[in-house]
């Protein structure tokens, strides 16, 4: 039992680490392509140096993302061999497609980073567009596999084995749509708002390269804006899908204990699985019924419909509440930005606005991580939802705390190093004259 916990923790740490780099690998190329296109259109050299500054950061993040992704592809088998034995023929094709997308991203990023003087500007921009598109499609293919784990289909389950496998049906899980849209938007938001926060910091601190950082902030903020605004709607749609296909997960992330009609929505508060209550929460009567089924009087299945040992950990509720809270804060900032724009005030001259953007910079990533905790911890106790339990898929390897500690230390050092290297870049970009490599 302890081994299961170690295996799950190692997988969780690997995913929590990798997803940051994966999201940046999706978001940064899109931003770079925009500023490079602006450079080609306006011939303003600041857009060129912005593109180059961003591309250096991207190079570092992409390398870490590539190797930590490799770790994950092996860890699926190292930690959960029985899962891979059963699921390989069903989700493998999606990973094969992801392999090609990742290949394209690696190839064209190599060209993008190192061929500035070797190919024409238009071809260079085209290479960047391919990098952005392959990051986008990589995400879709990985999420197709994840969607299948949450809402599996395309097989007949007999005697504990997956038979009569239809791999094309497996690729079309009903969860694909909301997972891909929700995650892609999250990746764009998290990346762009973190970038905006760094440049907001430069502007607040005072820098001789003011207009450079202004362009950077405005581009990143405006890029994130539409995604911030649609994300709550996508999230709502995602919640309804979960209500339909994974009622246990919905009940767990709301800690909705008793099956009931006109179920209230609890905001905040502390859940207690023993007493089956939530203390100190703000109550909206019928709110949960409405959100889950678009009807204030609809019946919402509660945790009582499921055996106690199958309930996902209470952390999923807190993760869910935090994700929603962070998302709402970002919507508020987006609305503030739009208001400033309507009043024709340049965003980058508003000190208070920059301060708030600096402080809330990490919220996109925190919301993204919280969202994945909801999805994946909420998927427990199943690894293939409804068919294979995580405890039946784990490796028999004893002493799993050793690789857990080793991997955690490696990622801790790696994370610290990336931050240190990035800090030197940021400091360097404050100065009038940049030091080049």
């Amino acid at each position: 039992m302890e081994n299961l916990l170690f295996a799950r923790s190692q997988m969780a740490i690997s995913l929590i680490f990798h997803i940051i780099f994966a999201a940046i690998g999706i978001g940064m190329p899109a931003l770079m392509v925009i500023t490079e296109a602006l450079w080609l259109r306006t011939r303003d050299p600041e857009y060129l140096s912005l593109t180059k500054a961003w591309s250096k950061g991207t190079a570092v993040f992409f390398a870490v993302g590539a190797v930590s992704g490799t770790v994950l592809s092996f860890e699926l088998g190292l930690l959960f061999p029985e899962f891979m034995r059963q699921a390989g023929p069903l989700i493998g094709p999606a990973f094969a497609l992801e392999g090609f997308a990742f290949f394209a991203e690696g190839i064209f990023l190599g060209i993008y980073l190192y061929a500035w003087n070797r190919i024409s500007p238009k071809l260079h921009l085209a290479a960047g567009v391919i990098v952005a598109l392959s990051g986008f499609s990589s995400a879709i293919f990985v999420l197709i596999s994840n969607a299948w784990m949450n809402a599996p289909q395309g097989f007949v389950f007999a005697n504990g084995e997956f038979t009569q496998i239809q791999p094309l049906v497996a690729l079309q899980s009903p969860f694909v749509l909301h997972l891909t849209v929700h995650m892609l938007a999250a990746a764009y938001i998290a990346t762009a708002l973190s970038v905006a926060a760094i440049h907001a910091f430069a502007l607040l601190k005072g820098t001789p390269r003011r207009s450079f950082h202004q362009k950077a902030f405005t581009t990143a903020f405006l890029f994130a804006l539409p995604f911030v605004l649609i994300q709550p709607l996508v999230g709502h749609f995602a919640g309804q899908q979960v209500a339909k296909r994974q009622p246990l997960k919905l009940a767990a992330l709301e800690r909705h204990y008793q099956t009931s009609k006109r179920a209230p929505l609890h905001i905040g508060g502390i859940s207690d699985d023993e007493k089956k209550t939530i203390r100190g929460a703000l109550l909206i009567p019928g709110g949960l019924s409405f959100l889950a089924h678009t009807d204030f009087n609809a019946e919402v299945t509660g945790l009582d419909a499921f055996p106690r040992e199958d309930w996902p950990h209470p952390m999923v509720r807190y993760a869910f509440q935090l994700m929603v809270l962070f998302g709402m804060i970002l919507v508020g900032i987006a609305a503030w930005g739009i208001l400033l724009w309507l009043r024709k005030r340049p965003l980058t001259t508003q000190r208070r606005f920059l301060q708030v953007n600096f402080l809330t910079g990490p919220l996109g990533f925190l919301a993204l991580e919280a969202g994945w905790i909801v999805t994946e911890v909420g998927r427990q106790p199943w690894v293939i939802y409804g068919f294979l339990r995580t405890k039946d898929a784990v490796t028999p390897m004893p002493g799993l705390f050793i690789p857990l500690i080793v991997i955690s230390l490696v990622y801790l050092v790696l994370g610290g190093t990336v931050i240190a290297i990035l800090r030197r870049y940021v400091r360097n970009s404050f100065q009038a004259e940049e030091t080049h490599l």
Partner: protein, 328 residues
Amino acid sequence: MILAEAVALTVLVVLVLYTLTGGADFGGGIWDLLATGPRRVEQRRLIEQAIAPVWEANHVWLIVAIVLIFTAFPLAFSVASTALHIPLIILLIGIVMRGTAFTFRQYDLNRESRGKWSRLFAGSSVLVPLFLGICLGSLSTETIRVANTASISGFFSPWIGWFQLSVGFFTLSLFAYIAAVYLTVEAKESAIRADFVRRSYLSAISLVFTGFVTALLARSQAPHLFERLTQSWGPWFQVSGALCLFTCAWSLLRERFRFARVFAAGVAISILAGWGYAQYPYSIIPDIPLNLGTAPEATLRLLLILLAGGSAFLFPALFWLFKIFKKY
């Protein structure tokens, strides 16, 4: 069965491509570690320039191989992941350190820490081929035994053995050899080129020596492998490997470096093709033949279609990448 064999052949081709590209990048790291003499700084710079634009793309071949294996041969993947848990974890940490240290060395503005990244990059470039060889060797030594779809051989005995270690050093020599020959083409000055010609000879000797030791050990520790390599078509792979090795050496002597590069690739292809031939019809000797625990035909067919479609896009892209950065 024919579909499973087609995917197995594809895995072999992917491993060949990984050796010829990613393997050479690791070989570059080995030569970074072994850089000596008055031109060691220039040697390291040449290696860095050769690897930087392409290593991430080259690395993807390994991921493609893994994905093909777990999709088409899920039982073999699951068994190998269990029995080889420890060496695979070491391999992964090596892969993480190599990639990140190499990137940090290039992009860290703090020049003082570059020495640290350099050593880490070079050290892990030795670790990865060694453990890759150990893992592959373990598939042939009949030390991974299976009962009821799971490995029953524990977590050390499958991979700790002289044969596996020997395959590890053989892999190391092969990667170093390919890299040295490639670098004779990449070098712009004749002194550096001469350095790598010398290194090509040295690693060729090491390759022959470790190959010989591996073959000797195979006789007792990997009998199926040994038998297949010495009977019927088996010896031809050895003949072709030896011919390529000699032609490569001769080309280096005559300063036909591009020619030498082709034959160095020929050495690698002969070795891997010979290994694939000798391993047949097993994925893991002796309990898992290719047709046991294999994905259903529908998956294999879809996989091959996706591979064909993906390749139509991939190979032109790879061609462009190498055309921009590499000499023909």
